[in-house]
Amino acid sequence: MTLFERIFGGKKDNSATKAKDRLTIMLAHERADCAVPYLDDLKRDLLKVIKKYTQVRDIQIKSENNQNIDMLEIEIQLDK
């Protein structure tokens, strides 16, 4: 976004931005489905291992993909 547009709020809520956001979210999902079919198994096994050492409340696994990189983001919430 150029300075001009930032000042005058030109391109904020236009339809192209919406299209891009919708596509980005949609494709992250679709790619994840193909790229990580083992997601549920992985989650179960991880839980098992982590429980051995500490109390765990939940594990969130997010997968982010584009044509260049596949990334798994694992968030482990511990019980207090």
């Binding site: 001009f4 236009n14 299209a19 891009k20 596509l23 494709l27």
Partner: protein, 266 residues
Amino acid sequence: MGEVITVTSGKGGVGKSTLSANLAVGLAEAGKRVVAVDFDIGLRNLDMILGLENRIVYDVVDVMEGRCNLSQALINDKRAKNLYFLPASQTSDKNILEREKVAKLLEELKKDFDIIILDSPAGIESGFEHSIFMADRALIVSTPDVSAVRDADRVIGIIDAKSDKAKAGEEVKKHVVINRIKQDMVDKGNMLSVEDVLSILALPLIGIIPEDENIITSTNEGEPIFYHQKSPASNAYRNIAKRVLGEEIPFMDITQKKGFLKRIFG
């Protein structure tokens, strides 16, 4: 040995056949021996864009089934003497192609031609698989709208899985062609920009084709727009052909003239 270039998209109607036709003409005009093969079995189209529909006697299935020789089915283009065309068959059975027969045909074409352009059908079914498994490179066409980009992304995701070359550990070159850009809409923020599409598809660009009414008239007449040298799209196709041949051509600036304030702040 010839190079197999597959033109594909996922979604239909985004300009695969128009790109195939004009790229074929462009490469032939650059001195390459080129054959364009219509792989959209049952839904022949490339013949109309090239203006060769009246010259068809045999088609690609006839060749594969041995009902005629390859040379009997190949049609020489009206203007580009280095360009040959192999039409799709009009059979309603689109699953008629067999992998071994496709491979045999393409091997034969690779001996005779420098470049084999395969105009793939829309979709990700067997027709697509047959047009991609021997590909050395793929051009993925998308228009700047959500459904075309989404489908292009799916196709890109499965090219390597379907490609013999990728299975052998080699790289299938993949490039994106963005078709029907309306720059005034992009400027107003009402159309995905080239940058938007590229950042989503995460592949290198090989061509930007502006929306151009001349495409319709040239298709009406069966005269590829490549020859309509003053039209913006013709120039875009010419540049794609050059880039396919390895020339480094800067991407043309199709941005409209910017307003005074934008010029200062942009």
